[in-house]
Point group: D3
Chain length 331, copies 6
Amino acid sequence: MGCFISWGEVLLRLSASATERLANARNLDVIYGGSEANVACALAQWSIPSRHVTVLPDHAIGTAALQSLQRFGVQTDFIQRQAGRMGIYFLEHGVSLRSPQVIYDRFHSAFAEMSQPFEWEKILADASWLHWSGITPAVSQAAADATRTALHAARKLNITISADINYRRVLWQYGKKPTDIMPELISLSDYLVGGVDDFNNCLGIALPNSFEEVCPTVTQTYPNVKGIGNTIRQTHSASHQELQGLWWDSRSVTTSRNYSIDPIVDRIGSGDAFMAGLVYGLWHQHTPAQIIEFATAAAALKHTHHGDALHATVAEVAGLATNLNTGKLLR
Amino acid sequence: MGCFISWGEVLLRLSASATERLANARNLDVIYGGSEANVACALAQWSIPSRHVTVLPDHAIGTAALQSLQRFGVQTDFIQRQAGRMGIYFLEHGVSLRSPQVIYDRFHSAFAEMSQPFEWEKILADASWLHWSGITPAVSQAAADATRTALHAARKLNITISADINYRRVLWQYGKKPTDIMPELISLSDYLVGGVDDFNNCLGIALPNSFEEVCPTVTQTYPNVKGIGNTIRQTHSASHQELQGLWWDSRSVTTSRNYSIDPIVDRIGSGDAFMAGLVYGLWHQHTPAQIIEFATAAAALKHTHHGDALHATVAEVAGLATNLNTGKLLR
Amino acid sequence: MGCFISWGEVLLRLSASATERLANARNLDVIYGGSEANVACALAQWSIPSRHVTVLPDHAIGTAALQSLQRFGVQTDFIQRQAGRMGIYFLEHGVSLRSPQVIYDRFHSAFAEMSQPFEWEKILADASWLHWSGITPAVSQAAADATRTALHAARKLNITISADINYRRVLWQYGKKPTDIMPELISLSDYLVGGVDDFNNCLGIALPNSFEEVCPTVTQTYPNVKGIGNTIRQTHSASHQELQGLWWDSRSVTTSRNYSIDPIVDRIGSGDAFMAGLVYGLWHQHTPAQIIEFATAAAALKHTHHGDALHATVAEVAGLATNLNTGKLLR
Amino acid sequence: MGCFISWGEVLLRLSASATERLANARNLDVIYGGSEANVACALAQWSIPSRHVTVLPDHAIGTAALQSLQRFGVQTDFIQRQAGRMGIYFLEHGVSLRSPQVIYDRFHSAFAEMSQPFEWEKILADASWLHWSGITPAVSQAAADATRTALHAARKLNITISADINYRRVLWQYGKKPTDIMPELISLSDYLVGGVDDFNNCLGIALPNSFEEVCPTVTQTYPNVKGIGNTIRQTHSASHQELQGLWWDSRSVTTSRNYSIDPIVDRIGSGDAFMAGLVYGLWHQHTPAQIIEFATAAAALKHTHHGDALHATVAEVAGLATNLNTGKLLR
Amino acid sequence: MGCFISWGEVLLRLSASATERLANARNLDVIYGGSEANVACALAQWSIPSRHVTVLPDHAIGTAALQSLQRFGVQTDFIQRQAGRMGIYFLEHGVSLRSPQVIYDRFHSAFAEMSQPFEWEKILADASWLHWSGITPAVSQAAADATRTALHAARKLNITISADINYRRVLWQYGKKPTDIMPELISLSDYLVGGVDDFNNCLGIALPNSFEEVCPTVTQTYPNVKGIGNTIRQTHSASHQELQGLWWDSRSVTTSRNYSIDPIVDRIGSGDAFMAGLVYGLWHQHTPAQIIEFATAAAALKHTHHGDALHATVAEVAGLATNLNTGKLLR
Amino acid sequence: MGCFISWGEVLLRLSASATERLANARNLDVIYGGSEANVACALAQWSIPSRHVTVLPDHAIGTAALQSLQRFGVQTDFIQRQAGRMGIYFLEHGVSLRSPQVIYDRFHSAFAEMSQPFEWEKILADASWLHWSGITPAVSQAAADATRTALHAARKLNITISADINYRRVLWQYGKKPTDIMPELISLSDYLVGGVDDFNNCLGIALPNSFEEVCPTVTQTYPNVKGIGNTIRQTHSASHQELQGLWWDSRSVTTSRNYSIDPIVDRIGSGDAFMAGLVYGLWHQHTPAQIIEFATAAAALKHTHHGDALHATVAEVAGLATNLNTGKLLR
């Protein structure tokens, strides 16, 4: 097979240590990540050749972001550099009764204001998969346009397309509504991750109330869509949560075991680890039960270490998915 | 209204990181705090003009303490500086089965050996509230005397007086017993925080065994006292505890919800956050139910971050008090 | 006398540790500072009542900036909060042959896009001094307008006005040139800090080549101007530099001793410490020789510790200015 | 009584911070420890004169290991230094669903390749106790030989001998099987720590399935053996585990209370703390119930702080063993 | 052109902070580097497609080493993983009168005990340059053999070969002397870095005493050799040193300016940065003066930041080489 | 020979990082040291059996101090523990033009208020050397009395006595003057370290102005005194100083080379390292030139690493003393 390509913005994340409030922090941990790039970082670790496409500032912070992707083995040869700023978000992790908080400072980024066209035919030449998320068309008209161009190019080349709907109310400030743009992009995609709320906000059609009922409607409306994944999260506190995965394969919904995570180290990127797990299972043509268990284990494992992108081998994720020695000292 | 004034010693707190024993620490975190100053720090964040009155050494460590109060917006213009030492306490946080420990090194401090009189009329000129705690008269005769002078001055100016009884057996070493001094000071106060043990140790009268029964006795004996707050703590381990607040408003006891905190980051100052929450509710003439819920939420939230003083906005405390999205990622 | 008021943007500074390149940093030190606020922070430590006026975002990072000013004792009661972002700059300190570098990310800040008018009459009511810098009118039309309004109001109230010309080529991107705006603002000011380049870029008139010759031309053209300060820096490497101060008091130029700083810890804010030193000397009506020696010592001392704002007592600066025991262990 | 002597390798442990994966760590915490030395470190804190015997490299890392033992008060006068490397292990702590992992890099160490004989008669001259573990004879032929020599010398001098069986499958790579060597060494010992698996792997005889049944078989086969201890661990996750101790005193099995540890900070060395607790109780001729409760409390407490060796006073362990104020703030 | 390939071992470097002695360190900084890989890391940053070939352990520490190369953009697709250990070195940086020290722990590494052959024809298929150093044949017979195979394969494909002689007395312990092996490898190479001592130890022929005289002898003896570089270091202290570069282009020796570095942050890898600078200049067919100035500037710049590999852009190195604004604040 | 015994207070030192002002520090580095104990720590590293005698508090901070001595191999079996506080000093290191500063907080310590007598005959039983300093009799009457008792006991046992005069103006606050106490103690001593000022302040006799002239007067007045050492320090800045040692052996003054230290990491304890160097040379009966060169090299080396006590082997000190490869990378 060819390579996996992800497309979307990379942000600089600045987080206070777990016990400190953001307003009181004297130093901040640096992570570079983005919903789509995080998927590529996981897959590159799992021996799926991966490439990320984005726009980065042409200064040292942009270089740092570039190098953080390369570190995982993600190819960066189609990343464009231009003058401008890096999108930023500040993160306070949350502990127990104190909720985690994100402060976004991502407007006017070099990505949002991208000024050079991407040569998608060239970029996609050796690709078999293209991944995008609903965050990108929410950022700016230029980002939405580039996404549409990329998807049409991929469709023409018979490249599999996946999308994480990822609806974010605080974005979509450049004049378009999700329903103006998302339906076309979704109609071009093969696999989706999303929940009832995501679909309600992005499709603009009346939908039933449960994932089980929404999925058939979506796959009927958008015949390219062959599978939909989702996670259900129970939030006992900022430190203790449970996670369960669901996978609609156009016939039925398969559910994973329930994963109880206590304590949580860093929940950012757990949805992206789930997405990566789905791609991994689909790429290797696993069964629905294998796909959803691996993806949910990946998402659960992401909660246990620092950073946006999952750091774990296939063996580690599979070990958790099959419940081998969880928590036992390995030596 | 005028401003809130707190009166009492500020200590240098030196704590080992959570996973390290104090005897093994190679560096110590620095926090400046005091039972009374912590209340002012919380209230200043909540837009109640606050001023702290104390004595600090005239060297860099004293300056650091001063600046740590200013940082929260607490006014420090009546703080006296004099030669001498800073009171210190060493803190080992405790985790799970390992209990938190405090080693006090606060004798002979510049505060305990204060040598210049305070001009209380001037200090209280634009005040509407004066707050003291049972720690101050326990420290030295000079501190006890200054407290008595301050309280009489405040009473004369019709300033509301609150007190955290805060009985500490390891203090009271200068020759006086709590019962020699506390009854008069309590008799001058409007609002108290204390439990059955505090009252037993400080009032010198036979008291019943429950908060519900003690409160009427106290308010009958000390007719100035209009309200008494207290918290009940269930200690499952150093990392997991539950907290519930009680508020006697001279008619009945109102209880808060029960807050389960797991894990605890730093429990020091939770009583002071509770006190601040009570003052905030009384200042804004909230209902008893609102008062005790806000105060207990403030106390619970204090457990979730590093430091003696609560770092939280009114919205954050109120959000927890009304159980909104606790633990959910806010973005 | 009344208070000192500074007006200008506060930035979040994110710096890598001295030995690490910015592109390789995994955590960044947090400092909040601004050319004008740094002056207030120094003066507040030196017992000159100081107040900073600015616009800050209404989120936790804005609160952190606010609290960092309060920490020094700067009053913040006229600071406006509004939705928006915090201006940021990234700093790599530089060592030896590796030059320090700044990456600005300050456009579109809440300050630059300030949307509420300031009530300058009320703000200046108890002021005797107003300080601004050439950075502010370079940021946006709104900032330039607010500066002009403030200066006219101050002039009407006979408040002393000081300015740090501080010409920065990378700013001035909103459509105006320095010469469109700076001459009027300079004409309203009493004391300036600037070098030949600053005046050349901001005044739009032909000027001689040396500070000694430029100063009379400036004071003749702008009769309100009563004094001009400047520093001469010799750069041997990023770690070793020499500094000398010059002060034109409308009659002659007085020079300070030469200060050799080796190694340099953090040179950011040394110009602001110089400015603060000048204000301090003028406020206390010192002689020209005292003024320039104290100001240059303050600037030199700023190089020796971390942070934008000078942390030093009057005694420490004066000790260095009078060459007492420099480098000797004080105990 | 004389002193306690432990014999075995000391390793350099390099661990990532709890929230970081080993492959992503930019710095590693340094601890020096070894199964047998950890016992001496605990006992030295408990006023039992202790001495550790080993071989260390003759460079700075060897010196650091030596000094880490001395720090606890362990005497090091019979430690040999020789050219060679320090055995190392890398540790990832694990959190929640992420299991702790150890990567060993201990082959070819100066200890394994020890080249000078030890003068056991001199070393044991003032000893009353010798402690070894099953790790040592598993490391190399030289280490196995030295252990046998030491045990025979001790037996001759009527010195009490204890052993932690500690079977590790990844060791035993020098050509011998446990059953070639361990039975003789066990036959020379008075007290053992081990579970059913340990005995199965090391004794080479058919054994029943439960600790209660195995113990009589072992003590009948090896008449020198007077007592056997063991711990039962329930692993809920990497962060939450329960521990219970068992003690066979040749007549019956006594069990401790069950200790629930949540969260776990560092579980390495908990078995060694258990061993130390047993030695402490036997040394002071406590009752079986006291012995096993103290030993299990020591093991449980070890989980709550960083490092291989238990840092705790007798009073702290005994306080936990008798369930006094667990988790309560001590001041 | 094709890509640059480096071949050699990657080590885990563990260093104490600059102010701490190694024997006293409680944590160690982690860097992965190797003399040859460091060259590839620099060149990859300078847009020369680079690939490193080595053997790494198949555990998390090996993965970390792999990812540290990828981070710079170095391709790692021909790196072999096998069971075994990572070579390690401990570094104490040194300050002022305290010399830097290295403790090697690199024997028995997976690289030294490499067990699978490399397919050099495939590896070199798209290469134009192969780089090796004298460290590799000094490590083990297997490493020496693989180097010889690689060089013959490269020679056959007309690939340019460079070598850093890098004689290390503490290596060469597997039974061969440098003069047994190095002459053949040098005879296959086009460009060398080495000083008089290196040649004396490795060539086994009588040589004159100065670089200027040795070079013609070497190029006459080994006609493939077209250029030889070297650096002269003056050591005033651990913190202050001067560096000058020499370049023999088969006709004459060109010298660089003298670079004074004070203070030095981390001198490890400066020779590799010099090597990378030479390759860069030769790759782009620069003049001898340009080549040696760029290479020496790269070496000098390496001293100013943490880590084995140079982190610097072409513009930064060239800026230092042409003496632009050295030490000045860039904004 | 027997062992070396040092007698004096151990303090907790709390220091800010080099680039941070004390008033701004959020964490402080922890070191335990004392002028006399630092000598024992150096000598224990140099294979001279050493024992420190003092009084420490009976809490965790006292234990930490005890263990910090044990770490170096210093025996602690005669250290007394009693209720009370640990003497503390705060240290700001100083850089360049910013002078280092010490804030003492050592009054009322457990040592100063020592309440149990020491059994000096037992303590000194296996000793050949006793070391004290002028700090101890300056602390309290009890400390002065214990020192006198110890010195008389030592004299009776023919134990060599050394003293570091170490006059500190800020001490001597308990009612006695140095001239009341020091002459008798000095008269009992064999070797002294002190400069002209020390003798002037402590002996109460008119003295000449130079070390060369003072020494004969001292040795004539106090016939037990056989040698006097001193260091001359030139302070260019807090970061750059020069050091030269002088040694009067009752016949003539021998001087060491001049050691230039740039930069200085931590100058605290350099006088104690000098003292240790003198004892080492005298213990081994070296020549005056060897004695003073080794002692001064030890003092110089102390400036280059963190901590009160010198961390260095005999080989390292001797290497610097003989000027071998200073600053060169050792591998």
